[in-house]
């Protein structure tokens, strides 16, 4: 039985895993880079060890150092979180070799999931429908151009190591494909040390719908409903929810069964996710298995009542999944908004720095998974996800109202976020009626609406803002006077904190 878990990650997911460890009385071991000395996961763990400098390759991607730390600290298991080493089959193998219980699938199964081409072949064999596209990995740009020419533009250029939408690029013609190929190849090399790209038919106005999976060592396999993740930017998810507005119990049973078959086809173990695209005509295509806990797992937790990290630990301990498919019922509705440090008006470019102040929302049906606290720092070395705001309601409308309210309560000073964008989306009639697709932002010109909403909001508050400024100016004048009389420079008064 697992008694001490090293969490090979940082940020909100490390904290998420620690919380379950604490509740279960399992000791937790955090690891941290130079950049993360002050991070919350370090403060919350039972023990914490420094593993290297800021760049991921020298810390959170350093398998040997992490495994060594696990062994020397007496941990008997490793939770990889998401990102970093979570889908690295070599890491899973290394853990096994060192007698560390890797909380996830076997290296072999992970390799199969990660090799999108082999995975596709396994799915076709298991009669799980897949997206039309390139038959294998494309190593040279010329080969990619050939394939694209055959299946017809536009096409998607994807990285085998992608995951979570990272490294997916839409290209409309030869020139764009050349440019994208070079960039994607470079990114992949920087992050994973190698590049492996492939080409797929671009499908317009699609929904991204995925199924949460769990499978134990005794061969029991279940799906834990779907998540609708169609609100995206640059092919990365922004808003997720469960259930999907276009999945009823019949579809859930049907596609859920496909998802379970997909898990069996790759001998998947532990919690994972089968991702599908859904066309407007209701066709579902399997795209990939994410061989790890997802960023958006909380929406599934809130509608199922399950603690998925606990479930992962139970499965890793060799226990049977403690419920059957028929025991699971969707309870209410849950929505998640990813709180990224990004500037919406700069094409979601990163925004980093010190968080001078923050207010984390709370209340009935509100959950926030975050590493933020006043005074913490958002580092340019790691990804932009600072936290996740998740709400639950008896139905979609209640979850939506609570989200809208919680977004207004969420204050982060120091970096830009998409919180105002989310308010515009949440209050749009298209979101309310469930008219979702991965091109939602473009299709409904949401950024234009956002500008109008921001203008309206500013106008609504302008008189109160002016009133505050009148009074405050008086105060400052008197302060400056007082300060000058005491011979202390005014500047000290406006220094932050």
């Amino acid at each position: 039985m697992i008694e001490k878990i090293l969490i090979a990650n940082r940020g909100e997911i490390a904290i998420r895993v620690i919380k379950t460890c604490q509740a279960l009385g399992i000791k937790s071991v955090a690891v941290y880079s130079d950049e993360d000395v002050n991070s919350k996961h370090v403060k919350m763990a039972t023990e914490a060890y420094h593993i290297g400098s800021a760049p991921p390759a020298q810390s959170y991607l350093n398998m040997e150092k992490i495994v060594e730390t696990a062994v020397s600290s007496g941990a008997d298991a490793i939770h990889p979180g998401y990102g970093f080493l979570s889908e690295n089959a070599d890491f899973a193998d290394l853990c096994e070799k060192k007698n560390l219980n890797f909380i996830g699938p076997s290296g072999k199964s992970m390799r199969l999931c990660g090799d999108k081409m082999e995975c596709k072949a396994a799915m076709i064999k298991a009669k799980v429908p897949t997206v039309p596209g390139s038959p294998g990995i494309v190593e040279e740009v010329e080969k990619a151009l050939d394939i694209a020419h055959n299946i017809g533009y536009p096409v998607l250029l994807k990285s085998v190591f992608g995951g979570g939408g990272r490294g997916i690029r839409l290209v409309h013609n030869e020139q764009e494909l050349r440019q994208a190929f070079e960039l994607a190849s470079g990114e992949s090399k920087a992050a994973f040390g190698k590049s492996a790209l492939f080409v797929e038919k671009f499908l317009p106005k699609i929904r991204h719908i995925e199924f949460q999976l769990a499978r134990d060592k005794h061969g029991n396999a279940v799906h834990i409903f779907e998540r609708e993740c169609s609100i995206q930017r640059r092919h990365q998810k922004l808003i997720e929810m469960s259930p999907s507005p276009v999945v009823d119990q019949k579809i859930r049973d049907e596609i859920g069964a496909l998802a379970v078959n997909a898990a069996i086809a790759v001998d998947y173990l532990n919690a994972g996710t089968a991702e599908f695209l859904r066309l407007d005509d209701g066709t579902f295509y399997f795209i990939e298995i994410n061989a790890r806990l997802q960023v958006e797992h909380p929406v599934t937790e809130l509608v199922s009542g399950l603690d998925l990290v606990k479930l992962q630990i139970d499965i890793a301990n060799g226990k049977e999944i403690p419920f059957k498919q028929k025991d699971l019922k969707v309870n209410g509705c849950s929505i998640e908004c990813r709180i990224n440090a990004e500037d919406t008006f700069l094409d979601f470019a990163p925004s980093t720095g010190k968080i001078w102040d923050t207010n984390i929302p709370s209340g009935p049906g509100v959950r926030v998974d975050t590493y933020l606290y006043p005074g913490c720092t958002v580092s340019p070395y790691y990804d932009s996800l600072m936290g996740k705001l998740i709400t639950w309601g008896q139905n979609f409308e209640e979850a939506r109202q609570r989200m809208s309210l919680a977004l207004s309560d969420f204050y982060i000073e120091g970096v830009e976020t998409a919180i105002p964008l989310y308010k515009t989306i949440l209050n749009s009639k298209e979101f309310i009626t469930g008219d979702l697709s991965t091109d939602f932002l473009d299709r409904f010109k949401i950024l234009d609406r956002l500008q109008n909403d921001l203008k309206d909001e500013a106008l609504q508050k302008s008189e109160a803002g002016l009133a505050a400024t009148l009074i405050h100016s008086e105060f400052l004048k008197n302060k400056i006077k007082t300060r000058k009389e005491h011979g202390i420079r005014w500047k000290t008064q406006v220094d932050r904190h």
């Binding site: 990272r166 440019q179 960039l183 470079g186 990114e187 920087a190 992050a191 440090a341 500037d343 008006f345 700069l346 094409d347 470019a349 990163p350 925004s351 980093t352 720095g353 102040d357 340019p380 070395y381 790691y382 990804d383 932009s384 207004s408 309560d409 204050y411 000073e413 500008q451 921001l454 203008k455 909001e457 500013a458 106008l459 609504q460 508050k461 302008s462 008189e463 109160a464 803002g465 002016l466 009133a467 505050a468 400024t469 009148l470 009074i471 405050h472 100016s473 008086e474 105060f475 400052l476 302060k479 008064q493 406006v494 932050r496």
Partner: protein
């Protein structure tokens, strides 16, 4: 005092009519009298009741030209010189500079992955000038105008801060 609310056409004016004691004031805003009661006030924060509604204001910037504040979670910028132009919305991964400016500045912090132009080269608006990496993403920085590269202010591997000049284009 007169202000213009940035990104809108709203001009505002207001004054303190009287201090009624006990931290209460009468203001005139856009010609209308309003009651204000201060709850707390520090060098960068004001909590107050305006008529019957509570507001909290935090000041982020107070320069000679403008005041930026957050009121009830909403960010406002008052231009102190209403005759000045609005600042346009930022709208690209590159600079908000207009054609008339030579400097192409970085609007993000990051590490330089590659420099795609040379000094003296001709560039067209939209050409990729360099690639930055930040938060695991590679971002192409594009020229904001047609012109000739006059100087290059960074090199591969270097770190750039927000607002650092990347190249000069004339």
């Amino acid at each position: 005092m007169k202000f213009k609310l940035e990104n809108t056409n709203e001009n505002l004016d207001g004054e303190i009519v009287k201090a009624a004691g006990n931290n209460e004031f009468v203001l005139k805003i856009k010609g209308k009298e309003r009651d204000l009661k201060v709850i707390t006030m520090t060098h960068d924060k004001v909590e107050f009741m305006l008529d019957s509604a509570y507001h909290i204001t935090k000041y982020l910037e107070n320069s000679t030209n403008k005041i930026t504040l957050v009121i009830d979670g909403v960010k406002l910028t008052f231009n102190k010189r209403p005759e000045m132009d609005n600042i346009v919305y930022k709208n690209s991964g590159a600079d908000s500079a207009s054609d008339s400016q030579a400097h192409l500045k970085s609007q993000i912090p990051g590490r330089v992955v590659s420099v795609n132009v040379e000094t003296g080269a001709n560039v067209k608006k939209g050409d990729v000038v360099c690639v930055l990496e930040s938060m695991k993403m590679q971002i192409s920085i594009k020229s904001h105008k047609d012109g000739v590269v006059k100087s290059i202010k960074m090199k591969p591997g270097a770190s750039v801060a927000k607002n650092d000049v990347l190249v000069e284009i004339e």
